[in-house]
């Protein structure tokens, strides 16, 4: 039986991804803080798909625990997907370094710590896939969320390097860049309908892109073009804009 490991499993995107992989025949390790809170969800996946779902505690900020976390998985996963994301409060983070650090460590440092361990194992086994859910916010820093954006930018660069390194070992790395997604994280924002994806659409896109071995996925697809335009704005112009 084959397992996929999903970290940050409480997020709405992670839940949709979990259902998608189980529906397609994979067993699941769902890792999150206080993972028992996912009991009802794990039962849902099992009833729907008759697949095995195991819950594992993972504190992404407790770097020292990560090796033990991975060692305890009796059967090593076929692939890993990170859906960890912490938007944080930009304004607060500008004055309060603890908030800034939490944004950076959650979205970047912590995942690097876990992914390094898994990447080494996959490289040795010469198989596996790694999916990192980054964000379009990492494509260009904007005043409204550049702390989150900068951590995501670092994560995107990390995934790009990892893909390069693991190419020889035939370990596939997928960078996912969602635009707006209707989740708990964005519940208070007024999002434009045409640019906003539902979590299950994002999950479908991720599953298909991973199965096909794609490198970078924008979801919705429209975001590739939106970001191309945003990245194309010259800096002298961009610095005066509010977008």
């Amino acid at each position: 039986m084959s397992y996929v490991l999903i970290i940050g499993a409480k997020s709405d995107i992670a839940k949709a991804v979990a259902r998608k992989y189980a529906e397609n025949g994979y067993n699941l390790y769902l890792a999150a803080r206080n993972s028992r809170e996912l009991d009802e969800f794990a039962n849902d996946v099992t009833v729907r798909s008759q697949k095995t779902v195991k819950l594992i505690d993972l504190d992404i900020l407790d770097f020292d625990s990560h090796q033990t976390f991975y060692n305890q998985l009796e059967e090593k996963p076929l692939g890993v997907i990170s859906a960890i994301g912490y938007l944080g409060e930009q304004e607060n983070a500008q004055t309060n370094f603890n908030e800034a650090k939490q944004i950076i460590d959650t979205n970047y440092t912590g995942i690097v710590s876990v992914f390094n361990i898994i990447a080494n194992d996959f490289e040795k086994r010469k198989s596996g896939f790694i999916v990192g859910i980054s964000s379009v916010a990492g494509d260009r820093g904007r005043k409204s969320n550049y702390l989150y954006g900068s951590a995501k930018a670092a994560f995107s660069a990390y995934l790009s390097g990892l893909r390069n390194r693991l190419y020889e070992a035939q370990v596939h790395v997928l960078t996912v860049k969602p635009g707006f997604v209707a989740t708990k994280m964005t519940a208070d924002m007024d999002l434009p309908e045409k640019l906003t994806a539902q979590p299950d659409e994002v999950a479908d896109d991720i599953y298909n892109a991973q199965q096909k071995g794609k490198n970078i996925l924008y979801t919705k697809w429209l975001w590739r073009w939106v970001m191309l335009v945003i990245k194309g704005i010259p800096e002298w112009k961009f610095k005066g804009m509010s977008i």
Partner: protein, 432 residues
């Protein structure tokens, strides 16, 4: 927030409330009024619109499935398509399914939906073993045919006006194929259409597409489709990818000429008076789900579906009169669906009764509501009724005449103080 229903009319402002668990739902209900629960927004009119909307769609966990008995326990936001994806490959299907699989279990109960097998299987509530309902005082009660029967009869078909359905146990049926043997019979007029329904009364599924622009002695000409599940053991069901309509069509693109052309082509493409096909679950039960957001073809002003049912004895005369009136008006309908129903159940507000029902789609335009008012009078004259799940404009008087148990329902609403908490734009309009 601006929720719209499937007809994309009317457009109203609402406040959305989501709940994580029973406790958070309790606090919403105790603090707010003018509430109505909403599933996937597939009712056509204003039955799931109100000032405050409880979005039950994220409440979508499967709880258990008893493989021996075929009883599925799910939360109310679970979509029918999720049930099919999970259980058709294991040989189970819904005992009753409407023409879309994109509705929630809560919505299916609240509208007491029915399908192509109503004449043999009754409506959705017949497959409901029990459900849990949160009342206005935030007590949770278990309702079934044996327990809290008054609440069961009021909630099935009660359009969300009795509280919030939390989860339900549904009896499924065994199938041994994902394919249906379909027979299409082409009829020349209403008389022939009725005779065909009678002739195939013992078939499991039956429905007719009727050409509502036909005139004179061709009035009522139809394609009657009947079907039975095959028994070939092929269960490898996977729901199809759909195409979507990404924008509203220009309002003018649907007019009587295009509808006429469509009807002519649709009816004309079937050459033989009787033909047989093997079709899949999706094309047999849910042909329109294959086109995502098909409601956009009616343009930005939206559309409505006018669905009524007439008692058996009055069906022929009544339908003839209604079809003549529509034909004269020149207002066409792409989708005109006729069906013979079985016996009514004893729920207070369920739509089905023994007789014939016709459903017609119309885009919202000038003069439409006058025509529908005219049709209402014919429906009332023949002692029929209008389907609330589709309706957006019926008057209190016409509604009441069709539903003899309405006063029992109103009484129960008062007893449980449901009328103080749960209301939709529709319930206010028709005075429920």
């Amino acid at each position: 927030m601006s929720f719209i229903s499937w007809g994309r009319y009317p457009i109203t402002k609402n406040i959305e409330f989501k709940f994580e668990n029973d406790e958070s739902l309790k606090s919403i209900i105790s603090e707010q009024d003018a509430l109505i629960a909403r599933g996937n927004g597939r009712s056509y009119g204003d039955s799931a619109l109100s000032q405050n909307i409880i979005n039950a769609k994220p409440h979508d966990y499967f709880i258990s499935f008893n493989e021996e008995l075929g009883v599925l326990h799910v939360q109310s936001g679970v979509l029918l398509c999720d049930i099919l994806n999970s259980l058709v490959p294991r040989g189970w299907f819904l005992k009753v399914t409407p023409g879309t699989k994109l509705i929630t279990i809560g919505g299916a109960i609240a509208s007491d939906v029915h399908g192509k097998n109503h004449h043999v299987a009754g409506s959705f509530s017949k497959s409901v073993e029990s459900f849990r309902l949160m009342l206005p005082n935030s007590n949770i009660v278990e309702c079934s045919q044996l327990e809290n029967t008054d609440l069961f009869k009021a909630t099935c078909g009660g359009m969300g006006l009795t509280g919030v359905i939390l989860d339900a146990k549904i009896q499924l049926k065994r199938i041994n194929s994902q394919y249906i043997d379909q027979t299409t019979i082409k009829t020349k007029n209403l008389k022939e259409t009725f005779d065909t329904f009678e002739k195939y009364k013992s078939s499991e599924y039956s429905v007719a597409w009727i050409d509502c622009l036909a005139k004179g002695n061709e009035i009522g000409r139809s394609l009657v489709m009947v079907g039975e599940f095959r028994n070939d053991g092929k269960l490898g069901y996977k729901s199809k990818n759909k195409i979507t309509i990404p924008f509203n069509f220009p309002t003018l693109s649907l007019n009587k000429w295009t509808v006429k052309a469509f009807n002519w082509l649709y009816y004309g493409k079937v050459k033989c008076s009787l033909s047989r096909q093997r079709v899949g679950i999706d094309s047999f039960f849910y042909p329109l789900d294959a086109i995502g957001d098909w409601n956009r073809i009616y343009g930005k002003k939206g559309f409505t579906q006018y669905q009524f049912i007439l008692p058996m004895a009055a069906s022929y005369d009544g339908l003839l009169e209604i079809l003549e009136t529509i034909s004269k008006s020149g207002k066409g309908s792409f989708l005109a669906v006729l069906k013979l129903y079985g016996k009514a159940n004893n729920n207070y507000l369920s739509f089905p009764m023994e007789g014939y029902s016709l459903a017609l789609d119309f885009k919202i335009e000038k003069g439409l509501f006058n025509l529908l008012d005219e049709l209402d009078q014919i429906v009332v004259k023949y002692k029929g009724r209008i389907y609330l799940a589709k309706d957006v404009r019926v008057s209190k008087e016409v509604f009441e005449k069709g539903y003899p148990d309405i006063d029992k329902f109103r009484e129960l609403r008062k007893t449980y103080r449901m009328n103080e908490k749960f209301n939709s734009l529709q319930s206010k309009r028709v005075g429920i």
